[in-house]
Amino acid sequence: MPAAPVQDTDIARIFRAEYGRAVSVLVRAFGDIDLAEDAVQDAFTEAVRRWPAAGLPPSPAGWIITTARNRAIDRLRREATRDGRHAEAARLHQAGQDPAEEEPVPDERLRLIFTCCHPALGTAAQVALTLRLLGGLSTAEIAHSFLVPEPTMAQRLVRAKGKIRDAQIPYRVPSEAELPSRLGAVLAVLYLIFNEGYAASSGDQLIRAGLCAEAIRLGRLLAQLMPDEPEVTGLLALMLLAESRRAARTTPGGDLVLLADQDRSRWDGQLIAEGQALVRRCLRRGRPGPYQIQAAINAVHSDAPDAAATDWAQIVALYDQLLTVSPSPVVALHRAVAVAEVHGPAAALALVDGLDLTGYYLFHAIRGHLLRQLGRTAEAAAAYRDALDRAGNAAERAFLRGRLQELSPGR
C-alpha cells in the first residue's frame, strides 16, 4: 500500500496529540524531565525529516517513543563518557530498537499530571508545567497566554523542573488516602487554565480560546484516565457547557454579552448535549462535589430556550448545595444573583451587602446591577465605578463603562 503523503500539519497534529504521552513514558524510563523533553524533541525533528518521504509509520506515537528512547540513550552515552554519573543509567537501557517495529504504546500521563500539580510547587509553576509537559505548548506560547515575558516563563519552568529533580518530587499517582486532595489540585490547575482562557484576568480580550481548548483537551484526557472520579467528569462537563456559550458571549466587536442577553441560537448544541450527558452520568454516582454541582447549574441554564424560561428555583437549590460542599463568599455572591430572579433584587442585595468581597470586581458589578433594578441610580453608578477600578480585561471594562453611560447619559 503506498503511503499517504505526509504534510507538516499532520506532524504538528501528531505533536500536539502525542507529545505529552511520549514525555510521560520517557520520564518514567529515565527519571529526568529535561532528558525526556530533549529526546522527544529530537524524535519529532527526525520525524519531520523522515516522514514526508517514508510516509507515516503504522503507529506514529510508538515510533516517536521508540526513537526518543534511542535518542535519550545516545545522550546518556555521550554524557557517560564525560561524566560517570550517567554511566549506570546508560547501561540500564538498551538501545538499537527499530522504531519501525510495532510496540504497544504505554501511557504514563496520569503520573506526569500528578507530578506537575504537586502541592510542593506553586500554582503558577503547576500551570506552566502542565501546559508545557502535557500540553506540549512552547514556553513562548505559555508566556503569551499568560501575558508574562518569555524569559520569566522560561525561568519559572526551569525552577519548577529543578525543584522536581532536587527535592525528588515523586512520579506516581498518589495513594488512595492522598488522592482526594491531590486530585483537587489537578482539577484546580485545569480549571484555572480554562478560566484564564474564558475570562482573561488581564489584556484586551475577554476570551483566549486557545487556553479553553487546551484545558478541555486535558480535561478529556483526565476523564479518560480516571473514569471513576465523578469530579473529573464534573469538571469536563462544566468546561464543555461554559465553552458552548463562547460564540454568544461577545459581540463581533469583542464586547461582553451577559447570559440573559445572549443569542441562544449561537450556543453550541453539540457541546451542550455532551456536557449535559456527562452531568447526568456523574450525578448518578451520588458523590456530588463542587465541579459537578457547578456543571449542573450550567446544565440548567443550557436547558432554557430563552432567559425568561430559566428554572431559577432549581439554580438557587443547586447553589444551596454548592454552599454546603464548598462554602465561599464568591459562591454566595453567585447564589444571590439567582435569588434576585426568584425573590427580587432587594432580597438579593441584602445577601450581597453581607459579603466581604470588596476587592472583587464582580461583587461591585452585581451590586450595581441590583441597585439599578431597584432604581437607586446614584448608588448603582458608584458601584459600577468601583467595579471598573477592579475589572481585569478591556472587554469587562468596556461593558461597565456602557452601564455607567446608561445610568448617567451625557457624562
Binding site: H118, Q168, I169, P170, P174
Partner: protein, 115 residues
C-alpha cells in the same frame, strides 16, 4: 537515599509555659523515636534562642564579630532534624507529623547528594 533538612521555625519571644511546652516536647521525643525506629533519622539539633547567636566575618584579613543573629525576624530557627526519605512525599509525611506535634511550620529542604 536522599536526605532532607527539616527546620522548625518558631516565633520570637519567651517560650510557652511548661504546662504547654512539656507535652509538646514529649510528643517531639516520641516522633524522634519513631523516626529512629523507621531508620529515617540522621541528626537532630535544638538551638538556644537567637539572642545567644554570634556572627563572625572576615574583613580585610581581620575578624569581625557581631552580637545577635544573622537575620532578624519575627520567627527564628528553633531546631532542625536531618532525615533520609525515598522521595519528597515521604519527607513531607514526616514533616507533617512534626508540624502537628509542634504546631509550628516546618521547612523541608533537600540536601545535595554526596556533598
Amino acid at each position: 537515599m536522599p536526605q532532607y533538612l527539616l527546620s522548625v521555625y518558631q516565633p520570637d519571644g519567651d517560650p510557652p509555659p511548661p504546662e504547654v511546652l512539656d507535652p509538646i516536647m514529649a510528643s517531639v521525643r516520641a516522633w524522634n523515636t519513631e523516626l529512629r525506629a523507621a531508620g529515617a533519622w540522621v541528626f537532630t539539633g535544638r538551638l538556644h534562642p537567637p539572642d545567644t547567636a554570634t556572627v563572625v566575618r572576615v574583613r580585610d584579613g581581620g575578624t569581625v564579630v557581631t552580637d545577635g543573629p544573622f537575620i532578624e525576624g519575627k520567627e527564628h530557627l528553633g531546631g532542625f532534624t536531618v532525615i533520609t526519605a525515598p522521595d519528597l512525599d515521604a519527607a513531607l509525611a514526616w514533616a507533617r507529623q512534626l508540624a502537628e506535634v509542634t504546631t509550628l511550620p516546618i521547612e523541608v529542604r533537600p540536601a545535595i547528594a554526596g556533598a
